[in-house]
Structure formats: C-alpha cells, structure tokens
C-alpha cells in the first residue's frame, strides 16, 4: 500500500520538477511536488511500523517552525543564502539517516558502502552549504580564499576518506572510530572545497551542492532500501547537475572549473593571461543574452556581407520582449560607404530612435551587459585609442570592452579593412562566436523562440 503512495509521490515530483522549468507553470509545479512530499511523509508515518510517535511529532513541529519562520522572515535579497542553509540541513539529515541506518541488525558490505556514501556526501553538502551561506551573507570574506598547499590538503583529504571508507566496509560497525573520523573528514572536505570559490560563483556552488544533497538522499535510500528516496534523490541529483550547468553558462564559467575550483583555484587566479581567445557556442551565448538586461548591437561591414540585418532586428525584438533594453551603436565609418549601416537597418525596419551615434554610445557603455559586435572590426578596435603605432591611432572607436560581456561575431580571426589586428578579440570579457553572422544570429533567435 504505502509503496503505491510512493509511486504517486514520485510521479508528482517528476511533474513538479518539469513544471518548475517554465514560468507559467512553475508555481503549480512547486505546489504539486509539495503535495507529493506531504503524502509520502504521511504514508510513512501511518504505515511504517513506527513505534514512538512522540519524538517524531515534536521534531517535525520544531523543524517546520524553524523552516517556516526562516522562509517567512528572509527578505528577497537573502533568498539564495537561505536556500544554502536549507540545503545544508538537508545534507546533514542524510548524514544522520545514513548513520542511524548502521544500527540495523545486519549490515552487508553493500549497505555499509551506501551508508558511507550518504554520510560523506551529506557531510560535504552540509559544511559546503554553510560556507556558501557565510560567503553570500558576507558573514565571512566573500572573495576566494586561496593558499598554496590547498591542492595537497584536498588530495590528502580525499585519499584519507577513501582508505578509511574501504577499511570501514570490511568490518562495518556503529562503534568503530573510523566512522567518526570519516564524518569529520567529510565535514572538513566540504569546507575546503568551497572556501577557494569566490562569492560570485556561489549560486552555482549552491545549485551543485543541492544536486549533491539529492545524491546523498539517494544513497540513504539505498542504505535503508527505500525506493522513494532513491527516485527523488536521483531526480534531484541529475536535474541539479543540469541546472548547475545551465547556470554556469549563463554566468559564463565552466562547470569543470567550479567543480574542481578547490584544486585549480590557485592556478585559475593567475590564469587570466592576455592573448587567449575564448570562443563560445551559440547555445551558451543564448544563456548569457537571456539573462542580460541591456544589450547593445555594434554592426559593421560583416553584417552587410552576411545580410544579417533582418535577423538582427528580430533578435532585437525578442530581447526587448524579454524585458531587455536594446540599442544599435553606429560608428560613422562602419561598413564600406557612409550610411552603409543605415541603409541596411532602415531596410530591416529598425526604428530610427534605436540608432545611437558613437558619441552617445560610449558614455552608456558601462551600463551595457552584452555588446554584440556583428562583423565589425576596425570600428571597435581599442588599438585606435591605446597603441599610437597603429595606423588607425587617433580614430575614435566604440569602446565595447567597457561592456560587461562582449560577443564578437565573425568568421575568423582575420583583420578588417585597415588590416590592423584587434586586441579586443583577446579581451578578458570577450567571447568570439565564429561563423557567418547571419547563421549565428538566426541560431540565437531560434534559441529564444524554441
């Protein structure tokens, strides 16, 4: 009987998660999954051979109290760290459940293994989440904390956990000190893993830890073989990974980097060497645009060659629908004849009011989230300002590097009309999207619509 309820609960979770993925169904989705949770818990309470309710009821009340209070009082800005805390408590819970599972009569190596999993993952999630919370709520320095022996320490920790783990599986017992050790180590590792990550990355970290806590629950499920735990845990685990990935891309960081920041952090902090070209895929570019609030197009001769003007206009419209501010910065010499861009954009029905001259564009640049350079080159070449040996030195240019992110759409690294190389392409915040501009833009449009 109870299991049938579990099946239903699982189904509800699945629906819930799916619905959470799209704006208009999200609220219902959340409700659905909460219902799933409710019936699952109730079923457990009534059906399982629960011997003492007292404790449970008390605890549930306490827990709900805390949870409800926290959820109520936190102000909007504090939400992410709050999620981190909740997530942490989820992690510790799994740890405890796993631990408790050891008190069952017989413990096969398999069970012991799953118990360990739930303990380790749970522990990491717990401390990790706490650190994340600390960093977000500025309870501790939010900047990446890095020291040289970091990679060593982390390595050591993992090794230790592995060895102890194997030892434990061979003769699992509640009393063995090994267990305590493992618990402590996992907690420590959780801390080590997160401190070297900067506050900016915290949302990603939390989402990742969230996926961990799912896995922890899943492991716990194996430990006490309870299939709803497994299903729900696994769902959250995998869904969490995907979500983390999406978030990474939206902030354009690589998941790998976040995952192993603990190890590579030191290297990373010095990795920002000039002279490195960072290409990016259309899908990833979409995720960034989707999150942008102010986009500036900077068209050049390449847009004309690609005849991309219509696609560009459409992308502009979609961005505006998405609540984003859109402008077109026209450099006086963009293209191959005076007013080249005007001809094209007028043809594509871009309203005159959205066109801004270079002199108006540059002051706004700092508010721009993404500057999309479409087949322009010379007119956005910083060398014109910086390098007085350059033949175009002294020509005023559109200063895209000052935008938060710069997309450069062109087919190759080739130079423009004046044949001057362009340092912009190597900029810290520059992402190259190689390929025909029209194809690229159309791709982005598709992402927005599809």
């Amino acid at each position: 009987m109870i299991n049938v309820v579990y099946v239903i609960a699982a189904a509800l979770f699945i629906f819930g998660l799916k619905m959470l993925g799209s704006p208009d169904s999200a609220k219902r989705g959340n409700l659905l999954s909460s219902v799933g949770m409710l019936i699952a818990v109730l079923a457990t309470l009534f059906d399982q051979q629960i011997l003492s309710y007292t404790w449970i009821v008390v605890c549930v009340i306490i827990g709900s109290g805390i949870g409800a209070y926290a959820a109520r009082t936190v102000q909007m800005t504090g939400m992410p760290e709050m999620v981190a805390l909740f997530n942490g408590s989820g992690g510790i819970a799994s740890l405890l459940v796993g631990w408790a599972a050891l008190y069952h009569a017989d413990i096969s190596a398999f069970v012991a293994f799953t118990v360990l999993l739930s303990i380790v993952i749970g522990g990491v999630t717990f401390t990790g989440s706490l650190i994340a919370w600390g960093k977000l709520s500025e309870k501790m320095p939010s900047k990446a904390i890095v020291f040289n022996s970091q990679r060593l320490v982390n390595g050591a920790l993992i090794a230790a956990i592995l060895i102890l783990g194997i030892m434990f599986c061979n003769n699992p017992s509640v009393s063995s000190p090994v267990l305590i050790l493992i618990i402590l180590l996992s907690l420590a590792f959780g801390i080590m893993a997160v401190i070297p990550i900067g506050g900016a990355d915290m949302p990603v970290v939390i989402s990742l830890l969230n996926s961990y806590s799912g896995l922890a629950a899943c492991a716990a499920g194996f430990a006490i073989d309870n299939n709803i735990l497994i299903v729900a845990g696994a769902l959250v685990g995998s869904a969490g990974i995907i979500l983390t990935n999406i978030m990474c891309k939206a902030m354009n960081r690589s998941l790998g980097h976040v995952l192993f920041s603990g190890f590579s952090a030191v290297k990373q902090s010095t990795k920002v060497i000039e002279g490195e070209v960072k290409p990016i895929s259309v899908d990833d570019a979409y995720l960034i645009l989707e999150a942008a609030g102010n986009v500036m197009f900077v068209p050049g001769y390449g847009m004309a060659v690609a005849q991309a003007q219509h696609a560009v206009r459409e992308l502009g419209e979609l961005l505006e629908k998405n609540g984003c501010e859109v402008s077109y910065a026209i450099h006086p010499v963009a293209g191959r004849m005076p007013g080249h861009m005007n001809v094209l954009l007028a043809e594509a029905n871009v309203s005159y009011d959205q066109l801004i001259e270079m002199d108006d564009a540059n002051p706004r640049m700092d508010m721009v989230d993404v500057a999309i350079v479409i087949g322009a080159n010379d007119v956005v070449n910083p060398a014109a300002n910086e390098d007085d040996t350059s033949p175009i030195y002294g020509m005023p240019v559109i200063e895209v590097p000052r935008a938060r992110t710069v997309f450069v759409l062109k087919r190759s690294m080739a130079a423009g009309f004046s044949g001057v190389d362009n340092p912009l392409f190597f900029g810290e915040n520059t992402r190259m999207i190689f390929g025909d501009a029209k194809a690229t833009i159309t791709g982005l449009v598709a992402e927005f619509k599809g």
Binding site: F13, I14, L17, L20, G21, P23, K27, N30, L31, S33, G36, M37, T44, L45, Q49, L51, S52, Y53, W55, C59, I62, G67, A68, A71, M76, M79, F86, G90, A93, S94, L96, V97, W99, A100, A101, Y103, F110, V174, P203, S207, S213, G214, A217, A220, I224, D225, N226, L229, V231, G233, L235, V236, S238, A239, I241, L243, I246, E290, G323, G450
Partner: protein, 97 residues
C-alpha cells in the same frame, strides 16, 4: 535481486532527471534550484523511519535530529520557493510591456 530493481529505478530516475530539465529562463534558476532542494528533503521519510523504528537511544536520537533538519529543509524549501515564484509572478507583465 532487490538491489537490481533499485538499480533500474536509479538508472531510470537519473535519465528522467536529465530529460525533464531543458531550457530554463534565468529568472527561474534560483526558484528551480530551491524547489529541487526542497524535494531532496525527501530524506525526511528516511529520518522518520529510523527515528520511529526503536533501534535504541542513539539511533533514535540521530533519527530525531535528522527529522528536525529534514523538516527544516522541506518546509523552508517549499515556502521560500513559493515566495520567490510569487514575486516573480508580476515581473513578466512588466517585462513583456
């Protein structure tokens, strides 16, 4: 034999997890995360079982603790998510202009 079924279930669930999350608008990232997080509070079920199944003091104690934490996660998680979505409700209207 059970283990196998569980394995099947695990495999299928993971696939499902990957399949159901596809493209998520930025505005939904946090709510989705916290909603998923609430689901991961499912350990509550496990906690209840351990806490309930009189396995002696420590175990029960651990279980009880687990119950508290898990409940915080569940209740807090769902409520916070709901709040986020609630305020987000209006936004699109504004955004869509």
């Amino acid at each position: 034999m059970d283990a196998i079924y569980l394995l099947f279930i695990l495999m299928l669930s993971i696939f499902l997890g990957f399949e159901i999350i596809s493209k998520v608008p930025a505005t939904l990232h946090t709510p989705l995360m916290s909603g998923a997080n609430a689901i991961s509070g499912i350990t509550l079920v496990g906690a209840v079982t351990s806490a309930g199944a009189e396995l002696g003091g420590t175990a029960t104690f651990l279980g009880a603790l687990a119950v508290i934490f898990a409940t915080v996660n569940v209740v807090g998680g769902y409520m916070v998510t709901d709040r986020m979505l609630g305020m987000f409700r209006k936004k699109p209207a504004g955004a869509a202009k």
